[in-house]
């Protein structure tokens, strides 16, 4: 079944809008919430994995955009600044999806965007702010 991992950014006016309900009910999509920050009267964000028929996915994405929700693919949201990374490896055990890994031969750290679910666990661990969330 086709899947899409997306970051949804809600303007303050749409925070009370039941997006997941409509995605499930109207488009027959499976919605897996990976993480969310929802604050009344402020811009809020939701990271979701959507799965369903190809056509349903396309229609669902169209619905989100038309509602006024900013939709962007996941992976662009955690940025790894290679120049700031000291390769200390403190972040490695924190990463649940192994997006951050270390080559045990050279001890060099690398980041694979596609595996990142933007859980932000690494953000508070990196002492050098080499990992940045871009909601």
């Amino acid at each position: 079944m086709p899947k899409k991992r997306v970051v949804l950014t809600f303007p303050p006016t749409l925070v009370s809008h039941p997006v997941t309900y409509h995605l499930v009910k109207d488009y027959d999509l499976m919605v897996n919430i990976l993480r969310g920050v929802v604050t009344p009267n402020e811009e809020s964000g939701l990271v979701v994995e959507l799965s369903g028929a190809k056509h349903a996915l396309e229609e669902g994405m169209k619905y989100l955009s038309e509602t006024g929700i900013h939709v962007q693919p996941l992976g662009q949201d955690i940025k790894w600044h290679a120049d700031k990374c000291t390769h200390c490896t403190a972040c490695i055990p924190a990463c649940p999806t192994k997006a951050l890994t270390v080559d045990r031969e050279s001890m060099e750290v690398s980041f694979e965007k596609d595996k990142c679910i933007a859980c932000e666990l690494c953000i508070q661990i990196c002492p050098y702010r080499a990992l940045e969330i871009q909601f």
């Binding site: 200390c88 490695i92 050279s106 001890m107």
Partner: protein
């Protein structure tokens, strides 16, 4: 100069001369090594490269052929700071006894008119600390030091009470490192010889200077460059002493004393290597020579601000014994796994387990019968780069070894690190 991992010499008579040199080799002096550096004939290798050389050729031959082994480390150390002479204002101000901040981070002002000290862990008064637990500690003294070294302008604000000879009562200006008369990095303690591996045996997440530790031993964090670390390559302090010239923060600095909490009297392996935190170095050097690549402000969530400092120490290969020390491997260096939820804060002796650095660097260790992921705080990649830079400096005749003026207290020194006395205070 040739810098190489191998030490092959020309065939024929040269080989015979080398052979008899190796046979008769007993020892060499730092002065002789410096002569070789000057002539371009010194053989310099890193603490990683020497392992294979000693393994392949034996200690006697390695000691005869190799002159210097370079080490490196790049880890956070809170006991870091810098002192500055800011230059006099017109009219003059006596900041001594007054207040002074750099980018809102308070400096210590208990000195003369324009001499101030900035500690790595200092932070602005408005920082919430752990009031919003866990605090993020985004900016502090360590970051000011990094920015100054990067050539950035920093806001200086100072107040004074005013005297007849120093009439000004306040000053506010933007300063650059280049403006200062003296700017000296001074770390009362750095370069820890081995360190604890931190775990959390409690049921809640804890935030420590060893990073975030997950409950029920969810992870284990370590902090040492292991086989590349300076004091693990000279475990009994036979060459490193007061006055030893070193790579410090990208410039050339010196060992100025043994570091605070220097504690040589701990459990050691047969190879002399301590199995827990032991010796330390106090180091200093001209901040104006240094680079932001090797002095990095670090924010430890829930704990505070600290400074990550690049240090590289050259080990002169004076004899067979010294080269044998430098050949130490990660699997021969052991560290204690300590519970930071109870034992560390409550100062209760005891370790959960003992592990070696080869295990730690593999990404997981076995504790209580299960695999626990490991994370580092000291960068091995950076340590390796520092050892390589120091090797290149020596090759380029930019760096000569210095004779230590005095060696550091070693295992025969007695003494230990004491806790603070708890006595009733006289009212």
């Amino acid at each position: 100069m040739k810098v190489r991992a191998g030490c092959s010499r020309a065939a024929g008579s040269g080989q015979q001369i080398m052979h008899s040199y190796v046979e008769s080799f007993m020892s060499k002096t730092i002065q002789e090594i410096n002569e070789k550096i000057k002539k371009g004939s010194a053989v310099v290798v890193t603490a990683e490269e020497i392992i294979g050389i000693v393994h392949k050729k034996g200690a006697k031959r390695a000691a005869a052929e190799v002159d210097v082994v370079t080490t490196g480390t790049f880890g956070p150390m809170c006991s870091s700071g810098a002192y500055f002479n800011l230059g006099h204002t017109k009219p003059r101000i006596k900041i001594g006894g007054g207040t002074c901040t750099l980018n809102d981070v308070p400096c210590y002002t208990g000195f003369a008119a324009v001499d101030v000290i900035l500690g790595a862990t200092a932070m602005p008064d408005y920082d919430q600390r752990n009031a919003a637990y866990p605090g993020s500690f985004k900016y502090g003294g360590a970051h000011v030091i990094e920015e100054l070294v990067a050539g950035k302008a920093v806001k200086l604000s100072a107040t004074a009470y005013g005297t007849d000879c120093y009439p000004s009562k306040s000053v506010e200006t933007m300063v650059y490192l280049a403006d200062m008369n003296e700017a000296v990095l001074f770390d009362p303690r750095n370069c820890y010889q081995n360190y604890n591996v931190a775990v959390n045996c409690s049921d809640r997440v804890i935030y420590t200077y060893m990073g975030r530790l997950l409950p029920r031993i969810g992870n284990a964090n370590y902090c040492s460059a292991g086989q590349l670390s300076p004091l693990l390559n000279d475990p009994l302090y036979k060459t490193i002493g007061i006055g030893t010239r070193i790579f410090l923060g990208g410039g050339q600095g010196y060992v100025s004393w043994q570091g605070t909490q220097h504690n040589p009297n701990v459990k050691r392996s047969g190879n002399g290597v301590p199995r827990m935190g032991a010796g330390t170095l106090a180091v200093m050097g001209d901040l104006k020579q240094m680079s932001p690549e090797w002095l990095r402000g670090a924010s430890m969530t829930g704990y505070g601000v600290t400074l990550t400092v690049g240090i590289g120490v050259p080990i002169p290969i004076l004899n067979e014994e010294i080269v044998q020390y430098t050949a130490v491997r990660d699997e021969e260096i052991f560290a204690q796994v300590i519970d930071y939820s109870k034992n560390y804060p409550e100062v209760i002796p005891g370790s959960v387990a003992e592990v070696n650095y080869a295990q730690l660097k593999s990404g997981s260790i076995t504790l209580e019968g299960r695999q626990v992921p490991t994370g580092g705080l000291s960068s091995y990649v950076a340590a390796k780069k520092i050892a390589a830079i120091l090797k290149q400096w020596i090759a380029d005749k930019k760096f000569y070894l210095s004779e230590p003026v005095a060696l550091l207290p070693s295992v025969d020194s007695g003494g230990s690190v004491k806790l603070m006395a708890d006595r009733p205070v006289k009212k």
